[in-house]
């Protein structure tokens, strides 16, 4: 079965591009536009292998989404804002932080590295 990824970002174009790319690479991709939508989707029976989540969104930030996932689901935080406090985020447990802009090859590498085995 192909790995299941949830993309959370408030920008429609970003969701669309990531979904297109990742589907071409053989992943199953769902999208959510914010914290509330993501929380709702994470409560379903479907368990995601990985969540790729934007840091700043109108209805909350990526840390709130992180708190809703359970192991073994992996988590990558993506942000366009370069000066978030990485130490604090790592203390919370977020292991992977990617800053925008990043090319797809790099992102794919990180995705593969954070999928549960």
């Amino acid at each position: 079965m192909s790995p299941r990824i949830l993309i959370v970002d408030d920008e429609a174009e970003i969701r669309r591009i990531m979904q297109m790319h990742l589907r071409r690479k053989g992943f199953e991709v769902d999208i959510a536009s914010g914290v509330s939508e993501a929380s709702a989707m994470l409560q379903f029976d479907r368990v995601y292998d990985l969540v790729v989540c934007d840091f700043r969104m109108p209805d909350g930030n990526g840390v709130e989404v992180f708190k809703k996932i359970k192991p073994p689901t992996g988590f990558i935080l993506i942000s366009g804002f370069a000066d978030m406090d990485e130490t604090k985020l790592r203390e919370i447990g977020i292991k992977e932080i990617v800053t925008k802009p990043a090319d797809m090859a790099y992102l794919l590498e990180k995705i593969k590295a954070n999928l549960p085995i």
């Binding site: 920008e11 174009e13 591009i17 366009g80 925008k100 802009p101 990043a102 797809m104």
Partner: protein
Amino acid sequence: MPHKSKVLQRQLLKLGLNANQAPPDPETWHQFLARVSACYNEADQDRYLLERSLEISSDEMRDRFSKINLLVDQLQLNQSVLQDMLRDVGFEVTMSDLATNIEKRVTGFRCAIFRKIKDGNELEIVAAPGFAQSARVAMTVVATLPEACPCGQAAYYKTPIVYNGDSSHPQHEQLVSMGFESCYAYPVLNASNEVVAVFSLFAEKSLILSQQQSELMKGLGEIVQMAFSHADIKRTLQKEQEGVAARSKMTTLGEMAGGVAHEINNPLFILQGYVDLISTSIEDKNLNAEELLETCQSMSTAIHRIAKIVRTLRNFSRDASEDPLEPTFIEILLADALELCSKRYEGVEIELVQPEGGINEQVLCRPVEIVQVLINLLNNSYDAVKNKSERWIRIEILPSSGRVEIRVTDSGQGIEEKAKGRLFHPFVTTKPAGQGTGLGLSISKKIVEAHSGRLFYNPDHSHTQFVVDLPVYKESA
């Protein structure tokens, strides 16, 4: 005895004469007359001395009176200058008022005040309120040379110069052609004996200045130097303020940088994504023309987005006070301001409530300046509520009878009483040390007022509300 004078009686007694008896012998009679004559002479002399001394006192008093008058005149002139300085009417107006006041005390003359240009051989006119335009133009710049008109000569020789129509004066013809027959010029010297200004009086008739009037002119030096130095200090202060204003903008830019970076990085990420898409399509030999065209279109849009943010950033940081006025939609002004500010709110979860759409009102303005004002208000609200438990900012646009109000309200509890009065003063801030230079609101107020508008704090609202009130632009049909 009919002759009552005591002096007479004394003289009679000295010679042993009796008035009731027949006249004495001629010799005694002559002695008597000599004594009486001496008395008359003494009396005459006394009277003369008394009159003289009265005259002298009277002269002294006239002299003193004259000196007092001079002092009063000087004080009045000084007072006029000081009052103008206090009321901050500006250097040109202060000097013009002074010239007019001088003219009141030297009837028949018109007064022109010149400033000596540093490091140069010229005087430039500062005030000549009583002169015709043509004369003023002719006196705009005067050389400080021996062949110049009396004003220039006074500056060159550092001494008062008088011209009374004599044809040997180097500028006699020019003065006559301008209609002047007399000219008195007084230089003003500073402590280092350099000329800083020249006062000159021109008359169309051949007039002579009285001693007192001349003293008055010579005594103007001090107050003029004070006015000059006041103007210099103000100019320096203004430059410093502009410097601080510029740095304050840099600080604000720094504060907004994070949100702005986000706004640029997102489209860059999208661009990168499309680039990767195209690469992958080529590698997989999966080239769909329609899809690729769409992709290119989206890339173009992303590039425009970035360009707009960069332009808005640039606009925020520059001085737009010389921009032309343009009719601009208020909604667009607000959108531009939010472009730079709104991302900051997401990071700390400040709820932003925007006005409903469909507001078609325009204002005649320098768009960049009004956007700067809105950014100032929005950033102030951000700072005010970012650490509060209730965090929101509401923006309303309310048109009414020829004007429009833009209201920025935040969840703060209002400005406290003692800070209200100084809200719009420069260099006053409620922010902690290191943040906020306290210039934002004072500059914003100046900008709005220059647009025939008002910027004010609304004390009747339960939360903190600032209002920008501007006239609506109506195109003439």
